[in-house]
Amino acid sequence: MLRNQQWVLRVGFCGFGAVGKYERQVLALPKYSFKGGVHPLHDQHEGKTSTTKLPIRAYVPDSVDIPMSMSIGAPATPIVQVGDHVKMGQKIGEANGFVSLPVHASVSGEVTAIGTKVLLLGGPTTIVTIKNDFQDEWTELSPLGPVEEADPTKIVPAVQAAGICGMGGATFPAHVKLTVGEGKYCDTIILNGAECETHVTCDHRLMIEEPQRIVDGLRAVMRALDVKRGVIAVEDNKPDAIDSMKRAAAGREGVEVVTLRTKYPQGSEKQLISAVTGREVPSKKLPLDAHVIVLNVGTAKAIADAVIEGKPLIDRVTTVKGCVKDHANLRLRMGTIVADVIGECGGYTEEAGKIVMGGCMTGLCAPNDQVVVSKGSNGILVFNEEDAKGYEENPCIRCGRCVEACPIGLNPYRMKHFCDAGDLKGAEANDLMECILCGSCSYICPAKRWLTASFKSTKEAIMREARRAKK
């Protein structure tokens, strides 16, 4: 098993460099879609071919490093000591506040260390290391029973207790999303099975292998919030997943399956809502303001597990590809070290230049292969040195392709001028804060301008200034 890779990895914003080498294309306005968008790796089926047919297999590591912060919000506080014996699903981290999630042990065994580790974002994060005893002994679970019979008022608290967050990558705590504030109402739940991100196939396989659980999860949420309409939205490049979901949804009250046009970023919340319901989420508002809640299919599956079996979220499906020997869709325990995962996939085939956690368009670069799988890790892509190299930025040629591609309808080329000049007010006046950082403009730009990167950086600067002004 390869651990502690000897070379230093590259970190940029995302894997745009590698995607950019392939053919680029802008599509016209289709049915069940949105205006703008791009079609990355179109000629290669979004780079997904190698793993769409591979069944999900489980991998359990010798030891896990469970971070206390796996979702947006305050990190949890560890409640175990070194030397404690923990069972699978036992709570090891207590949530701090409403927008925070508890953390559970993903293997049974002994806590060997509580330390810190530098993960994808921010500084060092507290981690609890558990050595696996391979007994897979569950802690005492308290299921609510079959979905159609469970007490609707207990469903959202169960979701919170199970530590479930958005599993599409944004890791926003699910119970916060499912809490409908006063004066608001929700009439549609959309399950996001678009998986528009390149390379990643975990949701695709989940829809084929566990469609019943996904529909159960949707029904649980519909019953909890008393919503009559549930839509499962899948892109039309996954006909097998659409079939499987349609079969599972047959005969279930209020559940329908919708086919979306394949395009990036179809799976982005606002684009998905506009494609499915024709409603537009108002500027600076949440989907609930358009009376819709969007959940990932993986999240729905986790909710079903929490309701039916009382199991907390301790594993997820992750797609591994790139320069590793065997590409795979793996069911991984939270806190599995990426080096172990790559070892399970047969190791590196060549020197890695970049490891991206997530897909090519929105993934985050890992500083080394010691980072861990957490609730939002939908993919692990290993780039070789050549693909990992960045590219030179060239002057804007004013072709306007970024404007065509922007799914929000912004003027990326214009925003970039303000970002480069460090003019925060000017950037804000050009609606920078509306940008969803999907990367379509960077991808389509023939001059290879670092558009999304500068937007991300400037958005952060604006938020920092706002925080400073508040103080």
């Binding site: 990895l9 921010g122 080394n368 670092w450 990167a453 600067a461």
Partner: protein
């Protein structure tokens, strides 16, 4: 062409000139905007870079604020003691000028090859953004990131990024403090220039961790404390700190420091 036409034209122009002159003079007197002459005099004494270090929108705004009594006479940092004296003279006030000249200093020596790399960053150059990506490109979480947010903020061209670290030209520095505000890691400090011996490291991690991250990190070994003849340097919270009151600038600590994290500018 006869001579009369030329004389006539000249006469008309002369009459018009006198007429306009009279009108403009009256208008100038009647519609004059009252400007305190002291404001423009003060404006002449300032640094003139519109750096904003004083907290006002620019040099003009600061000059007006001084006249209005809102801003202190020594509020212009770039102008320094010279400007403060001149402004005090204009305003008829006295000013305390006992303070030493201050300059910005980078308290990090983590150049390429000295600080270990966590990863190679080849994205958009902004220290503030990169500081939030996996703990920054250098292993040390206190190190200068070296993407030049401070150099962009400096209105006087005093900062340059050399070999992955910010270098400040003290002769150009006016201590306006803009670089300090821009630095996400806080490795820039404003210090009197007469403090010639400084600890150029802020790493408070344990000695082992600090050494693993950077060859010139303070490992809190305490040799400097033992060597100091005037009891001016102590290890506080994992990093050596010099008490400028007691320090005699002898440089004994810098000589014995095993990591060379104490710098003696006079040596």
């Amino acid at each position: 062409m006869n001579i009369t036409a030329i004389i006539l034209a000249l006469a008309v122009m002369a009459v018009l000139g006198v007429l306009f002159g009279v009108v403009l003079t009256i208008a100038d007197k009647k519609f004059a905007v009252e400007v305190d002459p002291r404001a423009s005099a003060i404006r002449e004494c300032l640094g003139g870079a519109n750096c904003g270090a004083c907290g006002y929108a620019g040099c003009d705004a600061f000059a007006q604020a001084v006249v209005d009594g809102e801003a202190p006479v020594n509020g212009c940092t770039p102008g320094g003691a010279k400007a403060a004296e001149a402004i005090a003279a204009i305003m008829g006030m006295s000013v305390d000028l006992s303070g030493e000249r201050i300059a910005a200093r980078v308290v990090c020596q983590g150049e390429c090859g000295v600080a270990k790399d966590r990863y190679i960053y080849d994205g958009y150059a902004s220290c503030a953004t990169v500081a939030g990506i996996a703990g920054g490109p250098k292993m040390c979480r206190f190190a200068c990131i070296g993407l030049g947010d401070c150099a962009k903020a400096c209105a006087f061209g005093a900062i340059e990024i050399v070999n992955g670290i910010a270098k400040i030209d003290e002769s150009k520095c006016t201590a306006c403090g803009q670089c300090q505000k821009a630095c996400p890691r806080g490795v820039i400090e404003l210090k009197p220039v007469n403090e010639t011996v400084i600890v150029s490291c802020r790493n408070t991690d344990s000695g082992r961790e600090a050494r693993a991250a950077c060859m010139k990190a303070c490992i809190a070994c305490g040799r400097c404390t033992k060597e100091c003849p005037s009891d001016a340097i102590h290890v506080e919270g994992g990093v050596a700190k010099i008490d400028p009151e007691k320090c005699t600038r002898c440089g004994a600590c810098a000589k014995v420091c095993p990591c060379k994290c104490i710098v003696d500018f006079l040596a």
